[in-house]
């Protein structure tokens, strides 16, 4: 589905030079116009923490934070993000400690196979940045862009509910 026919030559399909900060590290990258942000991460940079579930915006597995906002990296082109600051699942933990959202997912056993987990966690951190979702129903609604085929939703909800106030700097719940 994503196989790209090589360009027929000529410079109309030129490689573009972009600079991207990924998890705090500056990258100068050459990208083809049709490389999605997700493929840039996984295929060009071998950063496979971000997952490809559907490649069509329908599952949320590819969620990353661009300038702190959660987006689906499968439905955007890398070339469109020149100068952006990107945070992926690999960039959330500090040297010696998990991010509070990661810790809450571990504590609540908020996964089974784990495939949706990086997207869930990035999405939940994005939700914390939005400063919204103060009730259980709101958390469910605002996390609905992340599907979990294993159906770990209850534990995901509990993890997010516990970590949201901490992530928002409101102390523990």
């Amino acid at each position: 589905m994503n196989a790209i026919t090589p360009p027929p030559g000529g410079n109309s399909h030129a490689v573009h030079l972009i600079s991207l900060s990924i998890n705090g590290k500056k990258h100068e990258l050459e990208v083809r116009p049709w490389t999605t942000l997700l493929d840039l991460l996984r295929e060009n940079l071998q950063m496979t923490g971000t997952k490809k579930g559907c490649d069509h915006g329908q599952c949320g597995a590819c969620t990353v934070l661009v300038d702190g906002r959660r987006i689906n990296s499968c439905l955007t082109l890398a070339v469109m993000h020149d100068g952006a600051e990107l945070t992926t699942i690999e960039g959330l933990a500090s040297e010696d400690a998990l991010h509070p959202m990661q810790a809450a997912f571990v504590k609540h056993d908020a996964f089974q196979c784990g495939y949706c987990t990086p997207g869930q966690i990035c999405s939940a951190v994005g939700l914390a940045n939005e400063g919204r979702a103060h009730s259980s129903a709101e958390i469910r609604e605002m996390m609905s862009g992340n599907l979990c085929r294993c159906g770990a939703y209850n534990n995901i909800h509990d993890a997010v509910q516990e970590a949201l106030p901490v992530c928002r700097g409101e102390g523990t719940a």
Partner: protein
């Protein structure tokens, strides 16, 4: 996806000059890239409009609100002016897609998103919207999500947007520019019925750019409801949706606006249905009359007859919620 060239102009004039039949503007990319991956859209050039100065939300001289074409759906829904003055719009936007998608999706792109008809999406089968003249497999095929109103022999697709249903009820205007200069298009005239040109979803020309959407001075800040019915509780397109906005004079209705989503090729309004409610009591019997008028002439297909009843009930419920003026 086929290879394409990419450019990112910084001025509106420049972007318009670059436009052409082989090119597409890209804003949030959430619909266009999806269609490009499916080979439904095959532009040779992408014009990234994200560097254009179209991100402002500002009050107009007439007390309305002008929303730049690049304002993301989430920012618009949560904009303090929108939450306070156009809560119906806020509610409709938040009923659509997912938080991540709304962070990317833009005001202009939302208007121009294409149908979710399965046959349109499948480039291996005919589709009059994708390949004019090739036929419409949906008419006799699987048509559960398709139109019950305003369809044609050639196309039974629906427009999938939630935001546009609210914009129709609020009577917004779309401000566009092109080689011939700027023009303003009333929302009701922006999207079209399929007729014998189903490939055209709306009246925008290929070389025209949406600059902004303009809302008239606020009304309907108390009595409004956006009701969306779908196959799951969230993150699904509407089977039927209703934007209802009322002004009340005591227990009587003085103004009514009702727009339906998920039932036609464009947000569906019927002037007669709205007129029926004026001066009337806000009760079930009157709501049912309005619902009858809105759905008059419905022509369900093999799998979507349920939409007629669903819409009927949804209209009554949305009007009831709007009349109640409940804190939403």
């Amino acid at each position: 996806m086929i290879p394409f060239a990419y450019s990112k102009p910084t001025a509106v004039d420049e972007a318009v000059k670059m436009a052409g039949p082989d090119a597409r503007f890209i804003a949030g990319g959430t619909n266009l890239l999806d269609l490009m991956k499916e080979n439904v859209a095959r532009p040779e050039r992408l014009i990234d409009i994200n560097a254009l100065p179209l991100r402002d939300v500002e009050t107009t001289a007439t007390g309305g609100l002008r929303v730049g074409a690049l304002v993301p759906n989430s920012d618009l829904a949560w904009h303090p002016e929108v939450e306070a003055r156009y809560p119906l719009l806020s509610q409709a936007i938040l009923a659509g897609a997912s938080p991540q998608l709304r962070n990317m999706a833009t005001t202009g792109g939302n208007l121009l998103q294409r149908t979710r008809c399965y046959y349109f999406y499948d480039s291996a089968v005919p589709c009059n919207k994708r390949e004019p003249g090739s036929g419409c497999p949906a008419k006799e095929g699987v048509n559960r999500i398709h139109a019950i109103l305003g369809a044609s022999d050639q196309c039974v697709a629906t427009h999938p947007s939630d935001m546009c249903v609210a914009l129709a009820a609020l009577e917004a205007e779309v401000i566009v520019t092109g080689p011939g200069g700027e023009r303003r298009i009333p929302f009701a005239d922006f999207h079209r019925l399929p007729g014998d040109q189903p490939e055209r979803d709306n009246v925008l020309e290929a070389d025209e750019l949406i600059l902004a959407v303009e809302l008239p001075a606020e009304r309907f800040t108390t009595h409004y409801a956006y009701l969306k019915l779908r196959d799951r509780a969230s993150y699904a397109f509407a089977l039927v949706s209703v934007a209802a906005a009322l002004e009340m004079d005591g227990d009587r209705i003085s103004t009514a606006r009702i727009a339906l989503g998920g039932v036609a090729h464009k947000p569906w309004r019927v002037a007669e249905a709205e007129a029926l409610l004026v001066g009337q009591l806000a009760d079930q019997a009157n709501f049912a009359k309005a619902a009858d008028a809105l759905l008059r002439g419905a022509q369900p297909l093999e799998h979507n007859a349920f939409k007629v009843e669903l819409a009927h009930g949804a209209i009554i419920r949305a009007l009831g919620e709007a009349a109640g003026g409940i804190t939403q």
